[in-house]
Amino acid sequence: MNPHRRSPFVIAATVLVYFFLYAPIVMLILYSFNSSRANVKFEGFVTAYSSRVVMDGSTVVSSPCGPFHWFCDLAKNDDVLEAAGNTLAIAFTATIIATIIGTMAAIALQRYDFKIKPFSQLSLYIPIVIPEIVMGIGILTLFSQLFGWMNNAFGLTGDARLSLGIATVTVSHIAFMVPFVTLVVQARLQGFDKSFEEAAMDLGANEWTTFRRVTFPMILPGVLSGALLAFTLSLDDFVITFFTNGPGSTTLPIYVYGLLRRIITPQVNALSTVWILIVFLAVLLLQVLQSREAKPAHE
């Protein structure tokens, strides 16, 4: 029997599901080239170039960027640039901290015995089994009660008052990212046995040398994929950010959500297209790196 033989039903279902996954994305990208500012119907591409934007009613007739009119429009939007900067700053900071403390915890949980171990392990599953909104409003309550109390107690006024902002978003992101890093690294640590480390110790290496020369190189792929997972979780997060952000800490998902409740121009589509393109390239890069790394291991 040919193991790769497939039934026509499975093939038909597969084609339909892939169509379902991609049709909305293709539509989204197409509309980012829409000449109609109202963005209700697709009224064709902007075909002409000119030194200034020429409009006919709500239709763009010609633009310095031609068909890419909305992308140029996007690049001039300071709010978008600020939101993109915030999103990246939060994701980078949170990923670095979450990866370090998450890896430490994974090593502790996999290689050591200590009193609070059951509690540490159990707390990792909280973000998986509890709806995000429950965490979001809980953290919001914590910050608002804490800040209210501190502002009163220390008599903080004006700009000195503690309020929600980039710091609260970052701290909250770390909370839901750490468990994913720890679980991924833990799975990697489970994959190889302790005898490598024990051999190093027998040969006279101390604990730090053993970690640096044996344990860390072995878990590095796990640490990197944990960090990458954490980074994308942070970039994509809407709910936790929604409840913990304040003035000046708007991220891209929050910004787009705000736009959807008001007027939607093809600029939103242009932003989505750029986002999809970046994600596509990032996933592609990751796949290439992984397949390169996997090859020598098999030989």
């Binding site: 499975v10 093939i11 599901v17 539509m27 909104i133 429950v134 809980g138 409840f243 989505s272 592609l284």
Partner: protein, 307 residues
């Protein structure tokens, strides 16, 4: 102190695990405790919390109101119970539809040539990594009266000479279901794929040698062995659907109100954090109960991490 740390493995383990454990304790467990405390509190006129011990928020959720129209002391209005039921039904329906769509695709990828599997999985990851809010927006554009779906149906109707008026699909319960299915489909595909991929080819060969046809092989070999993936996928889909408010907010307009929307409004528009906290705890308890019974029946697979 340092000496002790150098000698005691237990102390080393505690120190390594401490930052994560503390972080999770302060930002996940303390907030849950605070939510519980506040849910028994009262709302002050300016939207702040007055700490007290009253079950008012919970009786209000159950539908018993003290603020009645014609002078009665208490009256019953199942408004909030209906919202809870609607969320539960939607979460069950979404999970069922997602399983039916994800299974054939995961099966296809798992049985594809190993060289092509990476590419097919890659194609599942792209929509998953495209931002959540952007994906809802895509469906908003498709479901509109002037959207692509109506254009295609209209074009087909025109071809067959059937009179056609554009369908009102946006701001309906159906739109919310489609949006939820689209958002969470990849979360079901990945764990099912992981468990299907582990099945050894020799099992299929053995089943064939023993005379089982394709259908019987699927029922007796493939399906039971892939259950851990289905269970993990269900947890990854059911729990977020129960709490999501963005999809219903954008695709359901003000027509489809779910628990998530109810909670969100208490914290932002209605400004009654005490009632919102009570609703949020009920949501958490409901999801935990469903997850508990489901995993007790089918087991808790490690596939959840693979996704």
């Amino acid at each position: 102190m340092l000496q002790r740390l150098r000698e005691s493995k237990s102390a080393q383990g505690t120190v390594l695990a401490l930052p994560t454990t503390l972080w999770l304790f302060v930002l996940l467990i303390i907030p849950l405790i605070l939510t519980l405390i506040i849910s028994f509190g009262k709302r002050s006129p300016d939207g702040d919390v007055i700490y007290s011990f009253t079950f008012e928020n919970y009786t209000r959720l159950a539908g018993f109101s003290t603020d009645c129209p014609d002078g009665q002391a208490t009256c019953f209005d199942p408004l909030y119970l209906n919202i809870l039921m609607r969320s539960l039904t939607l979460a069950f329906n979404t999970t069922a539809v997602v399983i039916m769509m994800a299974y054939p695709l995961a099966y296809f990828i798992a049985r594809a040539h190993p060289k092509r599997r990476t590419m097919f999985l890659f194609m599942v990851l792209i929509p998953l990594w495209t931002n959540f809010v952007i994906r809802v927006y895509a469906w908003m554009m498709l479901l509109r009266k002037e959207g692509a779906i109506n254009i295609v149906i209209g074009w087909l109707a025109n071809l067959l000479h059937i009179p056609f008026t554009p369908l009102e699909m946006l701001y309906t319960p159906g739109a919310v279901l489609v949006g939820m299915v689209y958002e969470f489909l990849p979360f079901m595909i990945l764990p099912i794929y992981t468990s299907l991929e582990k099945i050894d080819n020799s099992l299929y060969e053995a089943a064939a040698d023993l005379g089982a046809n394709a259908f019987r092989t699927f029922l007796r070999v493939t399906l039971p062995l892939s259950m851990p993936g289905v269970v993990a996928g269900t947890i990854l889909v059911f729990i977020p659907v129960m709490g999501t408010f963005v999809v219903s907010d954008i695709l359901g307009g003000r027509q489809v109100i779910l628990v998530g929307n109810l909670i969100q409004r208490q914290f932002l528009d209605a400004r009654d954090p005490t009632f919102g906290s009570a609703a949020s705890l009920i949501l958490m308890v409901l999801t935990l109960i469903v997850t508990y019974f489901y995993t007790r029946k089918f087991g808790f697979g490690e596939e959840i991490i693979a996704a």
